[in-house]
């Protein structure tokens, strides 16, 4: 019988939540890497036992963890013990250095700081890991300060794809309150050379040649909090999502505004419609209905909790504009949690499952596309990320 495995990253470790296809009873694994911030855990789409995790700490920096058995055991791809003192390190899986080589890199320019001055690029952590659609040893990493890295040896070595950071608008990028991270990477299953990346607070970028060259694709975004509301870059894009069958249609939860593009990001238009607030972080697409999308409205950028203290997912079956509140099983009073940008995912079982995690430590699941909800766990550390694997 098929099942699901939910991969949860939190402020204090990672957890796995597993169930059969009914998604009624759950097993909880973890904490893994207890006490560390786990920004993201994601599995290979072609080898579900291969998982990658971004483990970070203000004290100790960035660690990449890898599992080859679905999360039961983990290793640092740098390798286990090497023999004897002064042995040879087996890899550099924790090392993310910007490419400034004359042959392949770009000059390490500066980006805009909070006060408008220029600031040097400084690596801080990996926000997002996106395994390749065709090779379990190839993974893309979105990092803070915003740049794209890739490994092709299972995480032992990481190289920057400097075309994104160096494509020209970098000096205009600036951090949001949470930092300047490349937080979303979408791979186009129909066009292997194409991928999308989203950066707070810069915007959305697209490559059509496997990451060598990039262009900003932010036409139609309006951000009243920047000097030029229609600027080419500088927009605080919180999340973008696509349905794999229709990769030219993109959905976006911007800082404010829910947006849609029907031309692979060439232009965007607003589809916030009747949402109670169009501020939020997450957005995702139903596994089988490309025009069914989900958001979790948050009251405002100054009050990061649900409107009226009611935790509601909003679903549109029309690709935006017309939204319905989904609240059955969710707290409808005194609820002041947030749902962060990486913390929603869907499974691909026949009845699509939808999952999201909160800063209050709850992970909610719906096995009926959002009609009803129930908590899987309620007292985890603040949830940073949620991914789902649909298992055979």
């Amino acid at each position: 019988m098929s099942g699901v495995r939910v991969l949860v990253g939190t402020r204090k470790g990672a957890f796995t939540l597993t169930s059969d296809g009914k998604r009624e009873r759950w097993g909880v694994g973890g904490p893994y890497f207890g006490g560390w911030e786990i920004y993201h855990v994601k599995g290979s789409p072609i080898d579900p036992n291969r998982l990658y995790a971004s483990q970070t700490s203000d004290w100790f920096g960035q660690i990449i963890q890898r599992s080859s058995d679905g999360g039961k055991t983990w290793e640092t791809p740098a390798g286990p013990l090497t023999p004897g003192p002064y042995g040879f390190p087996m890899g550099q899986s924790n090392k993310f250095t910007y490419d400034t080589t004359p042959e392949t890199g770009r000059p390490l320019t500066t980006h805009q700081w909070y006060d408008g001055t220029q600031h040097p690029w400084e690596f801080k952590r990996v926000w997002h890991l996106e395994p390749s659609l065709s090779d379990p040893d190839t993974v893309y990493a979105g990092v803070e300060d915003a740049a794209l890295f890739r490994t092709s040896d299972g995480g032992r070595m990481w190289q920057e794809l400097p075309g994104l950071r160096g494509h020209g608008t970098g000096p205009k990028w600036q951090p949001g309150a949470g930092g300047m991270g490349l937080h979303t990477i979408l791979l186009d299953s129909k066009n292997p050379g194409r991928m999308f990346g989203a950066i707070s607070a810069a915007g959305v970028f697209r490559t059509d040649d496997g990451g060598q060259t990039w262009q900003a694709i932010n036409r139609g975004l309006k951000s009243s909090y920047i000097p030029d509301p229609n600027a080419e870059v500088g927009h605080c894009v919180h999340r973008i999502a696509m349905h794999r069958s229709r990769p030219n249609v993109l959905f976006m939860q911007k800082h404010w505004d829910v947006m849609r593009s029907d031309d692979a990001g060439e232009s965007w238009h607003e589809v916030s419609g009747n949402l109670p607030s169009d501020f939020g972080f997450v957005i995702d697409v139903h596994a089988h209905e490309p025009d069914t999308i989900y958001v979790v409205p948050i009251k405002s950028d100054s009050e990061h909790f649900p409107p009226e203290g009611k935790l509601r997912v909003y679903r549109s079956r029309t690709g935006g504009n017309d939204w319905e509140a989904l609240s059955k099983g969710l707290p409808q009073s005194h609820c002041y949690v947030d749902v962060l940008r990486e913390a929603m995912a869907v499974d691909s079982l026949d009845s699509c499952g939808v999952y999201f995690g909160t800063t209050g430590g709850q992970v909610y699941a719906s096995a009926d596309a959002g009609d009803t909800w129930a908590p899987i766990v309620q007292n985890l550390p603040p949830v940073l990320s949620v991914e789902v694997q649909t298992l055979p």
């Binding site: 006490g35 004290w59 920096g61 960035q62 002064y86 042995g87 550099q92």
Partner: protein, 98 residues
């Protein structure tokens, strides 16, 4: 043998229990001790010193023999008690409270 005491999270990362025992060839300095540590436990590379600059990470300090050695030059010899193994070299993380 040089004795090194790591903070809890680095002990779990390196999968070691108590003190780490290292053989260090030549002069015993902070650099040579950390080089030997990272060679034996490559998963620790970058967790104590920056990958590129080799600077101490800001939330870490180095102590030995009741002395704060954090601001010594990396090639300054460590105290004889550390070189002889009588005293450990301590890597200490800033306390997280509140």
């Amino acid at each position: 043998m040089i004795r090194v005491v790591l903070p809890y999270h680095l002990r779990t990362l390196a999968q070691v229990g108590g003190e780490v025992m290292l053989e260090v060839e030549g002069q015993v300095t902070r650099r040579s001790v950390l080089d030997a540590l990272e060679a034996r436990y490559p998963m620790l590379r970058g967790t104590i010193r920056d990958h590129v600059t080799q600077q101490r990470r800001p939330f870490l300090r180095f102590f030995a023999c009741q002395q704060d050695l954090s601001h010594e030059l990396p090639d300054t010899p460590l105290p004889e008690a550390v070189a002889s193994g009588a005293e450990p070299f301590l890597v200490i993380g800033a306390i997280a409270g509140g």
